[in-house]
Amino acid sequence: MEKEFKYFEFKGNAKEYFRIWIVNIALTILTFGIYSAWAKVRTNRYMYANTYLNGSNFEYNADPVRILIGRIIVVSIYILFIVFAQHLMMFEVAAGIAIVAFLAMPWLVRQAVSFKLRNTSYRHVPFRYVGKIRDFYAFFLLHGLLNIFTLFLAFPFSYVRFKELILRHSHYGQGEFNFKGKVQSVYEIYFSIIGWIMLIAIAVTMVVAFLSGIALESSGMGIEEVLSSGMVTGEDVSVDDATTPMATGVASLLMILIYLPLIFGEKGLSDAYFSNYVRNHTTLEGAPFRGDINVFKLAWISISNVFVILFSLGLLYPWSKIRYLKYKLEHTSFACHDYEQFESFGYEKGSTVGEEMMDFFDIDIGL
C-alpha cells in the first residue's frame, strides 16, 4: 500500500498570540512571578491546540499548580546556593548543593522528557515515556567520559545514542516510536553547518567592513579606535571621558551586525538540519515521519526574526515565534494509514522539578 504523507498544520496567529503573551507578562509582573506557571500552560496550550495533524489537534495537559511547585523548588535551591556561595561564604555547603544537583542531573533530564510527553495528547490519547532511570545514569556517565577524553569529537555518536534513548522509549498510547539514525550523517551535518557558518561569517564581515568604512570615513575615526574604545568600556571600569558614548555606539553596532547573523544563522541551520534528520529516521508503529525543512529558509527566518525583535523592542516577539513554528511544523509530515488504532494508557501525574530545572537553566532537550 502506497503511504500517504500528511503535513502538520499550524493555525496559530500572531494577533491572538500577542494578546496572550502580553497579558501573561503583565500578570506575571503584577503577581510577582506566581502567574508565570499559568502563563506557561496558556502559551503551550495555545501552541499545541493550534497544531493539527489529519484534521485533529494536539492537547497540552500540564497542571499549572504543579508547575508552580516545581518552579518554587528549583528557585529555592538556586537561591540557597547563591546565599551560601556569595553571601555566607560557606563554600562547602554551596559545593554540596552543586554536587547533589549535578548527580541528580540524569534523573532530572529523564523527568523532564517524561513530563513533556505525558502532558501531551492527541485525540485524547496521551504520549508516555518508559525509559529507565538507570539507562540515563549509564548514558551520562559513559558519554560524559567519552566526550571528555575525545574532546567532544564523539559528540555526534552520543547525539544518536541520546535520540535512541529518548525515542525508542516513547509511546503514543500502545504505539511505539522508533529511531534508527546513522552516526555518519550527524558528522556530515556538523561539517555542513561549520562550512555554511564560515561562509556567512566571511560575507557578513565583508559587508560590515564596507559599510563601516563609509561610516568612519565620514566621522573621521579609525576603526582601531572605535574597537579599542569598545574594549575599554567593556571592562568593569568607569572610563572618564565624554568620548565613550558615541564610540561605543558605533562599536556596538558593528558587534551586533557581525554577531547576530552568525549566532542566529547557526541556530536556524542546526535546528533545520537536526529536525529533518530526527524526523526522517523516526517511526511510530512503523509509520514514518518526514521533515523537508529548507535549511536556508529556516536560517533566514531565525536571523530576520532577531532583527525584527530588536527593532520592535521585543513587541514583535509573538509574531516571530509563530512565524518560526509555523514554518517548521508545516514542513513536517507523517504517513499513517490508521489514526484510530491507538489505545490510551490513561494520564499519569509526576514530578515537575526536572522540567522546571531544565526550563530555569534554559536547557533544551529537544524532543
Binding site: 503583565a26 568593569d236 571600569v237 568620548t243 554577531y259 516577539y317
Partner: protein, 333 residues
C-alpha cells in the same frame, strides 16, 4: 442550545462527531453516547483564542468544539463564566493596559529600580568582594595598558596631597599613578575606590598646583560614591533577565546586547552625575571649577591637533565635551 463537537472516549484515538445539547435545566446531553449529566460535573476549559475548547466529563470522555462563542453564551447563561485571562486577552483596553504595565515595569527596573537594587546589593555585598573584583580588573589592565608612572616626585606629592584632602582620610580610596600611551590622557575609578590617573593627563595640566587634576579626581570619586560600576552591572543583569524572559531565550541576545546598550547610553548620565559631584567637592574645598574647565579645553585642543593619532581624537568631534566645559565654567567665579 446545540453545539457540534468531536468526542473521544479516552480509551482509544477514535473520533466521533456528536452534537452536545445544553438543556435549560442545566444538563449536558449527548444522545448518541447516552450522556446526560448536570453541567456542574463537566469541566469546561477556559477559552484560549479560537482554539478548540475541551469539555471533560467525569467518566474520562472528552469533547472538543470550536464553537467558542456558543459555549461562552451557555456559560454566561448559567453563570459559569470564569475565564478571567480570556476576558483580559479579548479586551482591547486591558491588552493596552498590559503593554503599559510591561513597558512601565521594564523602564522602572532600568532606572529607579536599578538604582535602588544597586544600593541594596552594594550594602549587602561585603567590601572584600568589591575589592576582589576591582583587583582582578586592575591586574588585567596593568598587564596590557598600564606602565609605571614617570612623573616627578614633586608632581606626585602635590597631586597626592590634593587627593588626601579630597578623600578626607577614607581608607578605601587609593590613587595610582600610571603611564599609558595606549589609553592616553585619562583617569578612571574602580568600585573599590582605586583611582588610576595617567601621566598623559597630568602632562596636559596648565595649573602649576594641579587644581585641574584635583577636579578630575573629584569627578572620579563621584563615580565611586554614586556606585556607577555596580549600577551598570546590575542594570545589565536586570535587562538580561527581562530580555531573556520576554524572548524566552536566555542566550547571546540576553547577555551581550544589554551590556552594549547600557555602556553606551548610560555613561552620559553617569558622567554628568560625577561632574555634579565634582562641582560640589570643589566648592567645599574652595577651589574654582575654572581649572578643570581649562583642562577640558586643552584636551579638546590636543585631540584636534593630533588628528586621529590617539583614541582621544573622538573628544573633539563630540559635542558633549563643550557642554561639559560650559557646565564647569558656569560654576567658576
Amino acid at each position: 442550545m446545540l453545539i457540534d463537537a468531536l468526542l473521544y472516549d479516552g480509551k482509544s484515538s477514535k473520533e466521533h462527531k456528536v452534537t452536545i445539547e445544553f438543556s435549560d435545566n442545566r444538563r449536558v446531553v449527548i444522545r448518541s453516547h447516552n450522556i446526560d449529566v448536570p453541567i456542574d460535573e463537566v469541566e469546561i476549559e477556559s477559552r484560549l483564542g479560537n482554539t478548540p475548547r475541551v469539555l471533560s466529563f467525569e467518566n474520562g470522555i472528552r469533547c472538543k468544539s470550536i464553537e467558542n462563542d456558543k459555549i461562552d453564551q451557555v456559560l454566561k447563561k448559567f453563570g459559569l463564566s470564569k475565564s478571567k485571562a480570556y476576558k483580559i486577552e479579548s479586551s482591547i483596553g486591558l491588552t493596552v493596559a498590559s503593554v503599559l504595565v510591561t513597558i512601565g515595569f521594564v523602564w522602572f527596573m532600568l532606572t529607579a529600580g536599578a538604582t535602588y537594587t544597586a544600593n541594596a546589593v552594594a550594602s549587602i555585598l561585603p567590601a572584600s568582594t568589591l575589592k576582589e573584583v576591582s583587583k582582578v580588573t586592575l591586574n588585567q589592565l596593568e598587564d596590557s595598558y598600564l606602565h609605571p608612572s614617570k612623573l616627578s616626585d614633586r608632581q606626585k606629592r602635590i597631586i597626592q596631597t590634593h587627593f588626601n584632602k579630597l578623600v578626607e582620610g577614607e581608607s578605601k580610596y587609593k590613587l595610582h599613578f600610571r603611564s599609558s600611551p595606549e589609553i592616553g590622557p585619562n583617569a578612571f575609578a574602580l568600585p573599590s575606590g582605586d583611582i588610576v590617573l595617567t601621566d598623559e593627563l597630568v602632562a596636559l595640566s596648565q595649573d602649576k598646583e594641579y587644581r585641574d587634576i584635583l577636579g578630575v579626581l573629584a569627578h572620579e570619586k563621584g563615580h565611586v560614591v554614586k556606585k556607577h560600576s555596580m549600577r551598570i552591572a546590575i542594570k545589565t543583569g536586570i535587562s538580561g533577565v527581562i530580555i531573556g524572559y520576554i524572548t524566552g531565550d536566555v542566550s547571546v541576545l540576553a547577555s551581550t546586547i544589554p551590556t552594549i546598550l547600557i555602556n553606551s547610553s548610560y555613561s552620559r548620565e553617569f558622567e554628568h552625575e560625577a561632574d555634579v559631584h565634582a562641582v560640589q567637592e570643589l566648592k567645599d574645598m574652595n577651589i574654582s571649577t575654572k581649572y578643570i574647565a581649562t583642562l577640558f579645553e586643552s584636551l579638546e585642543k590636543k585631540s584636534a591637533e593630533d588628528g586621529n593619532s590617539t583614541s582621544m581624537s573622538m573628544f573633539a568631534s563630540h559635542p558633549l565635551t563643550s557642554k561639559r566645559i560650559e557646565f564647569f565654567k558656569s560654576y567658576a567665579n
